[in-house]
Every structure is written in C-alpha cells, then in structure tokens.
Subunit: 322 residues, 2 copies
C-alpha cells in the first residue's frame, strides 16, 4: 500500500512531452469585456482549438503512445459517440495504426463521418439493448485491440491534465481554475497539474444541473448515480463518476457548482459575440458558471478551460434560438 496517487504532476509532465508537436499548444485568450462581466482577470484556455476540436485528443494520444509497439501495431479501440471517438481515431492515425470505434446506431451522421474521416472503422450497437463497455471489451479482446477508455485510465487522465499545465506555465499564478466535469477525467488531470504547481489554487468543477452526479458524490463521499441526464451539454451527460477519477477528485476538487441550460446557452452566446469563439455546450459550462454568478467569492485571477467546440452552425443557431 502506497500513498502515491494514481496520477501525479510528473505523469502530467511526461504526457506533455509525449504530446508535444502532435497536439496543439492551444492559445490562452483574454478579453477585457469578459473580465468586466466576470469581475476577475480571466484566462481562457481554448481547447476548442485543439485537434479534433476538444481536449480529448490529449488523453487519447498520451495513452495510445504508451502502449507497446506490438499493441500499437494491432490497433486501438474505443467506445464513444462523442469527441473521444475522433480523438482515438486520430491518435491511431498519428501512430500509424488503425482504430475501431464502437458507436450507438443513432449517432449523428456528422460524428460518424468525422470519425471515418480520420481513417477509423466504425462499429455500431443498439444503445437501448447493448452495454457499450461489455461490447467494447469483447470487440477489443476478439480482435486483439488496445481499448482506450474515455476517462478511467491514469494515462488518459495525465494527458487531459496537460491543458491546465500549459495554462499555468503560460500565465503563472492563478487563484482558481474552473473546469467542466463529465466522467471526471479532465478535472482529475487538471487538478493534479494545478495543485501540483500551485498548492493554494481553488479547483472548481462545473456540472449541468441535470447531471450533478459528481457534486452529489463528493458530498456523500461515495459514488452516487443519477438518472441519465437530459442536458444540451452532451459531453457531461455522465450518470455516475468514474471509480478512478472519483478517487482523485475527492481529494483534489474543492467544490462543484451547477449551471442551468439557459445559463449554458447565454455563455455560448457571450463566447460567440464577445470572445469570437465557438463553444459546444459542455465547453461553455465553466464560462456559464462565472457569468451566471454560480461561483462564490470569485478571486482575482481565474483560469477557465473551454473544453471543446464541436457543434455545427445549424445546431448552434437552434440552441441559441431557444
């Protein structure tokens, strides 16, 4: 028995070396209008500009690159209908191998096309009758593929932490860091990096009101499941925290705040009109928390991770039209 956590700052630093030149070092945007609205100096790490349009590529590539050459040659697998699918598909291509992605039959065509576009094979299943974890594991075992999970893996979590590492390296001292929470991988990695570099930093997670499983779980000090959330923030529609991510987050995350659907829409509009950036609903939740006053006692210097921007122009217009 050891007290070393499953993911450390050194793991995040190692991941940063591995993804260098493969993932984008995304820009940190400032906006004085945003600062005035939030009431703090706000530093926005734009993972919507990351490859595949979301932070997910960091973790997927880090995990894939740590496999043995033999494992890489046999190929990767993942189950995801979202950004992780494209992240694993692109990681495979970058490593010169193939990927098989398991997606629900009713996945929007654009997401299937994007995944195929990175050269992956897509296998579909019925989300109402099938268990994606079981099907994914069986598929990987049968074909000898390395399954890259969306968050329950130390290398995935370490990779996700590199965005916060880059942010703090670039801007220095921060009083707080505000991060979206879905399965918990992004915030676990972010908190590992942030508290490793700045022990006094306050790490604030943001969930949609309908998907407050991590907030409830932290309060109860055990993993609590909620009904499958109905929210526009589809990247945060988790119904229970991951085991590994929760074991990290219960030690590292200071608080979880919730945002409503209209607050998310308003933040997407503010990001569009004031910052000129495109955010998907999940990507906008940290801005929503700050803009809607969901964070108490906003400190002087706040980092925000905008986690993704994968949304079509038509869907964006629909959402903002209400």
């Amino acid at each position: 028995m050891t007290n070393t956590p499953a993911v450390t700052l050194d793991d995040v630093r190692d991941a940063a070396v591995r993804i260098k030149g493969v993932a984008h070092r995304t820009p940190v945007l400032r906006s004085r209008t945003l600062d005035a609205l939030v009431g703090a100096e706000t530093f926005v790490k734009c993972e919507n500009f990351q490859r595949v349009g979301a932070f997910k590529f960091r973790g997927a590539y880090n995990a894939a690159s740590r496999l043995t050459p033999g494992q890489i040659a046999r190929g990767l697998a993942a189950y995801s209908s979202g950004n992780h699918a494209q992240a694993v598909a692109l990681a495979a291509r970058e490593l010169g191998t193939t990927a098989v992605i398991l997606m629900p039959e009713d996945t929007p065509r654009a997401k299937v096309e994007a995944t195929l576009g990175y050269g992956a094979e897509v296998v579909t299943y019925d989300r109402y009758t099938g268990d994606r974890v079981a099907i994914g594991e069986a598929l990987a075992a049968e074909r000898g593929l390395a399954l890259i999970p969306p968050y329950e893996h130390p290398h995935v979590i370490a990779g996700q932490g590199t965005a916060a590492l880059e942010l703090i390296e670039e801007v220095g001292e921060l009083d707080a860091l505000v991060v979206p929470v879905g399965g918990g991988g992004l915030i676990a990695g972010s908190a590992t990096a942030a508290k490793g570099l700045l022990p006094g930093i306050r790490v604030i997670g943001v969930e949609p009101e309908a998907g407050d499983d991590t907030k409830r779980s932290l309060r109860a000090s055990r993993r609590i499941s909620v009904p499958v959330p109905r929210t526009i923030a589809d990247g945060q529609a988790a119904d229970i925290p991951g085991e590994l991510t929760f074991s990290l987050n219960r030690k590292l995350v200071d608080e979880i705040v919730l945002v409503g659907e209209d607050e998310i829409r308003d933040a997407m509009r503010t990001a569009f009109e004031r910052m000129k950036i495109v955010t998907e609903p999940s990507g906008a939740t940290p801005l929503a928390a700050l803009l809607a006053g969901r964070v108490d006692a906003v400190p002087r210097r706040v980092g925000v991770i905008v986690s993704g921007g994968n949304i079509g122009a038509g869907r964006f217009a629909e959402l903002l039209a209400g």
Copy 2:
C-alpha cells in the same frame, strides 16, 4: 521630391512599440483541416480576437498616440458606422480623453451602444443628404478635435501593418499573404510590413465581387469608382480606393482576387465549424478566396489576416441560413 514611401517598415515597427501592451498580440491559429482544404500550410492571424473585435484598433491607437498632449487633451473625432468607430472610442479612453463619433442615423443600435460603451459621444447625420467627410471635418474644427480617418493617414496605415508584422515575426517565411481590401489601409500596412521583411512575398488582396474598385483601379493604374457595393461584407463596401492607400497599394500589391457572397458565407461556416472562430463577412473574405479556389497556384506557406469578428449570433445564423 523623395522616393521614400509615405509608410515604411520602420513606421510599422514604431507602431508595434506604441501599441504594445494596449492592443492584443493576437494568436496565429493553425488547423490541419484548413490546410487540407486550402492545399497549403495556412497561418491565420486572428484579428477577430483584437480589442473591439477587429484590426481597426491598431491603426486608431497608433495615430491617436502620436498626437501632441494638447491635441489628445482636446479629444478625438471620427466618422464611421463600423469597427473604426469603436476603435477610436477605445483609443480615446485608453489615452484618458474623449471622442466624438459621427454615425449615420440608421446605424444598428448595437453598434451605437458599443461605441457609447467605450465612453464616446455619438453624433448622428442623415447618410442620404449629408457628406460624412465634410460634416466630420466641420465638427472636428468647431470643437477643436483631432480627426482620426479610417485609412487615409500614414499613422493609421502603419498601425494596421502591425498584424502582418507580428504574423511574420511569429511564423517566419511565408510565400503569400492574403488580406481583405476595403479602403485599402489594412492591405497597405500589411504589404509594407510583409515586403519589408520578405521581399519575395506575394501580397494578395481580396474584395467582394460587388466592390471591386481596387481591382479595377490597379488594372487601370488610376483610382476608379464603382457604384456603392451591395455586399454582406460591409467592412469592404468602399466605392473607390483612398488616394494615399492606392499610391502604396499600386506598388506593393501583386493581385486582387474577388469572392462571391455565397463563397463568403461558406467561409464563415468553415471558420465556425472547422476552426471554431467567429468571423464577420469582411473578416472571412481571405479564407473565402483560398477555399473557393480564387487564388491561382497557391504556394506552400500562406498567411491570412482574418480582420474581424463583429457579428451578432442572430445575424450570423440568418446569413448562414441563406
């Protein structure tokens, strides 16, 4: 009589020193998807992230900061219904003085509000009966204000050139630079910087088809006026090149290409969906030129100046809906 041009690389460098810490050093974005669509390594200088949402702040602030302390204290003036209005208003505020902005009576309320928001006074006139230049000059003379023109001034042009200067400092050698053309100030400054640093660079201007005054003028070797253009690219609705800007551009600009209205819309959509950035129609025209194949023999490394992103989410949706 001297052969020294009205604006030199050194003037642009001086402007860069003056705007440092006041204007944003905007990021240069890369997107492999964009590279594949364009067929070249494409470096996008994001002036949509500039203060006031467009490159205009660079020139306005540079020109204003070069006034005497007495002139600054008496205040600034400008005539503009567009981004230059907000740029001069903000420049005045940054210099601790006031600005009076002359705007047409039918200017959209949001633009008036934004200008008032920077602390300026707005004076309106009837665009169908009044001559904005004459009214603006009379207003400035009467109140003792320093008029900052939108492009016909060496300090404004030098300021606009700092975006290209930063771009080339950051990414190095470029084979071509693609820039929107309205009155000609941005491209005159950009070409001065670019050809000063990289004598072999090809400078390509982009106009909307309806507003091809600079293309016609370069072909005729004299300033040609066209009917007031009807185009969604309102920042490029000039009907005749400026005298000063044309005298520079005829020596520095290699070619002008034209883009159609639907090509501009498609480029706005591509910028949104693939690059996750918000562009106003004028800001998207250089991307439109590259994406629609309007540039012949696209070279290996291309710089693009996305000049602005001031557009409401509702108007954006309307335009993309057709």
